[in-house]
C-alpha cells in the first residue's frame, strides 16, 4: 500500500511538472511582448528593452524555465507584471473563494445526486425514474453559466432570497446559487451512475440473503447496497475534477466571485504571465490531488481492493 501511494504521488508530481512545462512553452509563444504591454504603446524601444531585461525576458528559454522551477521549489511563484505583488499573495487571497465554491459545489452534486440515484434505482422504470433520467441528460447538456444565470433571475431577482452576486463578507448565502450552478450537471450525472451501480448491487446474492432474512427494505438499500454502490461515484467525483474546475471558473465569472478564475481572467486580459502560470498551476494541482484522493479513499471504503 505504501509503495502504491508513493508511486501514485510521484506520478502526480510528474503530471504537475508536465503541466508547468506545457504552460511555460505556451506563454513563450505568446505573440505579444509582455514588456511592451507593461511599458504601454508609446514607450521607446529602449524602455521596453530595459523592462524586458528586468523581467528576465532577454534570457534564453531553458534558463528561464530552470529559474522558474528553482523558485517554485521555494514556493515562489514570481511577481505579477501588472500588479506590484507576489503571485503567491494573489493566489492566497483568491484561493479560499475557489476552494469554498468547489466544496459547496461537490456537496450539491452529492446531496442532490445521491437521493435521486437511490429513488430511481428503487423505482426502476417508473415515471419518477424516467423523469430523473431526463433531468440527468438536461443536466450534463446545460452549460454552468446558463444554470447560473437562470438561478440568478429566479432566486435573486424574481424571488430575492439570495444576493445578486458578488462576494459580500464571504457568508454562505453568497455561495448557494453558485454551488447549485456548478453542481447541477454533476448531480444528474452521479444520480445516473449511482442508479446503475445500485441496481447491480441490489441484485447480488448477499442482498437477496438479507431480504430472505427479513431485513427491512430501507436497510437493504442503505446498509447493504449503498456502501458498495457508492464506490464508482466517489471515483468519478475525483476523476471529473478537471471538468468540474472549468465549471467553477465560469461560475465565478457569472456571480462575480473573486476566486482563482477571476484572478486568471484579469491576468489574461493584460498578459500577466506569472499570474496565469500560477493560476493554471493551482487548478491543475487540484485535479491531480483529486484523482489521487479518489484512489486513496477507495480501499478505505472497500477493504477487498488490494494495491500492489
Amino acid at each position: 500500500m505504501t509503495g502504491y501511494v508513493l508511486r501514485r504521488l510521484l506520478q502526480g508530481l510528474g503530471a504537475i511538472l508536465g503541466v508547468i512545462t506545457v504552460t511555460f512553452i505556451l506563454t513563450y509563444i505568446v505573440p505579444v511582448n509582455p514588456a511592451q504591454m507593461i511599458a504601454g504603446p508609446s514607450a521607446t524601444p529602449e524602455v521596453v528593452a530595459r523592462i524586458g531585461h528586468q523581467l528576465g525576458l532577454d534570457q534564453p528559454l531553458p534558463v528561464r524555465y530552470v529559474h522558474y522551477l528553482w523558485n517554485l521549489v521555494h514556493f515562489d511563484l514570481g511577481r505579477s507584471y501588472a500588479q506590484r505583488t507576489e503571485v503567491s499573495a494573489l493566489v492566497a487571497t483568491h484561493l479560499p473563494v475557489t476552494l469554498k465554491l468547489m466544496l459547496t459545489g461537490i456537496a450539491c452534486e452529492l446531496l442532490i445526486g445521491i437521493p435521486i440515484g437511490i429513488l430511481s434505482s428503487v423505482a426502476q422504470g417508473s415515471w419518477w425514474d424516467r423523469g430523473f433520467t431526463l433531468f440527468a441528460f438536461v443536466g450534463v447538456s446545460t452549460p454552468q453559466f446558463v444554470v447560473g444565470l437562470v438561478l440568478l433571475y429566479l432566486f435573486a431577482y424574481l424571488v430575492p432570497w439570495f444576493p445578486l452576486g458578488g462576494y459580500g463578507n464571504g457568508a454562505l448565502d453568497h455561495y448557494v446559487l453558485p454551488a447549485l450552478s456548478v453542481g447541477f450537471a454533476g448531480a444528474g450525472w452521479y444520480a445516473r451512475v449511482l442508479r446503475s451501480s445500485l441496481v447491480d448491487v441490489l441484485r447480488q446474492d448477499y442482498v437477496r440473503t438479507a431480504r430472505a432474512k427479513g431485513v427491512r427494505p430501507r436497510s437493504q438499500v442503505f446498509r447493504h447496497g449503498l456502501r458498495n454502490a457508492m464506490l464508482p461515484v466517489i471515483a468519478l467525483v475525483g476523476l471529473d475534477l478537471g471538468v468540474f474546475m472549468g465549471g467553477v471558473i465560469v461560475v465565478e465569472q457569472v456571480f462575480a466571485l473573486p476566486g482563482l478564475g477571476q484572478m486568471m481572467w484579469q491576468a489574461i486580459q493584460v498578459l500577466d504571465i506569472p499570474v496565469i502560470m500560477g493560476g493554471v498551476l493551482m487548478t491543475s494541482i487540484f485535479v491531480v490531488v483529486g484523482n489521487l484522493l479518489a484512489d486513496m479513499i477507495y480501499p478505505l471504503l472497500d477493504p477487498r481492493i488490494q494495491y500492489h
Binding site: 447538456s141 465549471g247 498578459l271 496565469i276 485535479v287
Partner: protein
C-alpha cells in the same frame, strides 16, 4: 421420404434466423429517446443550413424600431418573434445563424479531436514501448489540465477566431478519445489475426490502417457523436467568457455574454440562446447514447 427430409431443413433454417439480433439501425430506430435526440439534431442541422431562408431578418442589421424609446431591447412580439438584442438586432435571426457557429465548431473541433485521439491511441497501443509510454504520459499531463482553463489560456494567446476556437477545443478534448482507443488497441493487438499479419510480412502502416482501424470504427463513430455535445458546450462557455467566437458573428454563448447585464430587464436574451444550447447538446447526447447502446460499444469519456 420427401416430407421426412423437408421438416428438419425447414426447422434448421428457421432456427438460424430467429435468434439473430436485429441490425443495429433497427435497434437504434426502436430507441425512443434516441429518436427524440435524432429529431433535435435534425432540427438544429436544418436551422443551420436554412438559416438564410428561415431567418426573418439580417442577423447583423440594427433596426431603428428594434429598441424601445428608452433604448432598451424589445421583448418578443409579432415582428421580432424572440425579441431584439441590445443593439436592436433580431434575436431569432441571430440564434438561427448562431446554429451555424455551434455546429461548425462541434463538427470540426470534435472531428479533429477524434482524429488526434485515434492516432495517438493507435500508435501508443500498437507500438507500446517507450513511444507508447511517452504518448500516454503526455495524455495524462493534458488530462491534469482543467480543460476550460487550458482552453482559455490557449484562446487568449492565439487570438480567437472561428477556426482557432475549434482547434483549441480539439486540443483539449482528444485525450478522452486517446485513452479509450489505447485500451482497445492493446486488446486488439493480442489477437491472432494481428499476429498473422506480422507473419505474412504486411507493412506496419497497412496493419494499422487496414486491420486495426476498421475494428475501431464503431467506437470512433460513437465518440464522433457524443463528443459534439461536449464541444458545443465548451464553445458556448468560451464565447460566454469572451474568448470564443468574436462579435459581430452571432454565437449563442456570445449573445449571452453581451446581454447578461440586462438579465433582469431582458431575460429573453439569456433564455432563448440558452435553450438553443441545451436542446442542441441534449440532442447529440441522447442520439449518441442511443447509438452507443445500439452498436453495443462500451465506455463514455
Amino acid at each position: 421420404m420427401t416430407d421426412i427430409l423437408e421438416t428438419p431443413v425447414e426447422a434448421a433454417s428457421e432456427a438460424s434466423t430467429r435468434p439473430r439480433r436485429r441490425a443495429w439501425w433497427q435497434r437504434l430506430a426502436a430507441d425512443r429517446t434516441g429518436m427524440l435526440g435524432f429529431a433535435l439534431v435534425v432540427i438544429v442541422v436544418l436551422a443551420a443550413l436554412l438559416a438564410p431562408v428561415l431567418a426573418p431578418f439580417d442577423p447583423n442589421q440594427q433596426f431603428n424600431d428594434g429598441l424601445s424609446q428608452y433604448g432598451m431591447p424589445r421583448p418578443p412580439d409579432a415582428t421580432y418573434l424572440l425579441g431584439t438584442d441590445l443593439l436592436g438586432r433580431d434575436l431569432l435571426s441571430r440564434i438561427l445563424f448562431g446554429a451555424r457557429v455551434s455546429l461548425v465548431i462541434g463538427l470540426v473541433a470534435n472531428g479533429v479531436a477524434v482524429a488526434i485521439g485515434a492516432a495517438v491511441g493507435i500508435v501508443a497501443g500498437y507500438f507500446r514501448g517507450w513511444l507508447g509510454t511517452v504518448l500516454m504520459r503526455f495524455t495524462d499531463v493534458m488530462t491534469a489540465f482543467p480543460a476550460l482553463v487550458l482552453a482559455i489560456a490557449l484562446a487568449a494567446i492565439l487570438r480567437p477566431s472561428l477556426w482557432i476556437v475549434a482547434l483549441v477545443i480539439a486540443l483539449v478534448n482528444w485525450v478522452y478519445v486517446a485513452r479509450a482507443i489505447y485500451a482497445q488497441v492493446l486488446a486488439i493487438r493480442e489477437q491472432q489475426y494481428i499476429e498473422a499479419t506480422t507473419a505474412l510480412g504486411i507493412p506496419t502502416l497497412g496493419v494499422l490502417l487496414r486491420h486495426i482501424l476498421p475494428q475501431l470504427t464503431l467506437s470512433l463513430l460513437v465518440f464522433a457523436t457524443l463528443g459534439i455535445s461536449t464541444s458545443v458546450l465548451l464553445e458556448a462557455s468560451l464565447s460566454y467568457l469572451g474568448v470564443g467566437v468574436q462579435p459581430p458573428t452571432p454565437s449563442w454563448g456570445g449573445i449571452i455574454n453581451a446581454s447578461q447585464s440586462y438579465l433582469t430587464t431582458a431575460p429573453w436574451l439569456v433564455l432563448f440562446p440558452g435553450l438553443a444550447i441545451i436542446l442542441t447538446s441534449v440532442g447529440f447526447n441522447l442520439f449518441g447514447e442511443a447509438l452507443r447502446d445500439a452498436l453495443d460499444v462500451g465506455g463514455r469519456r
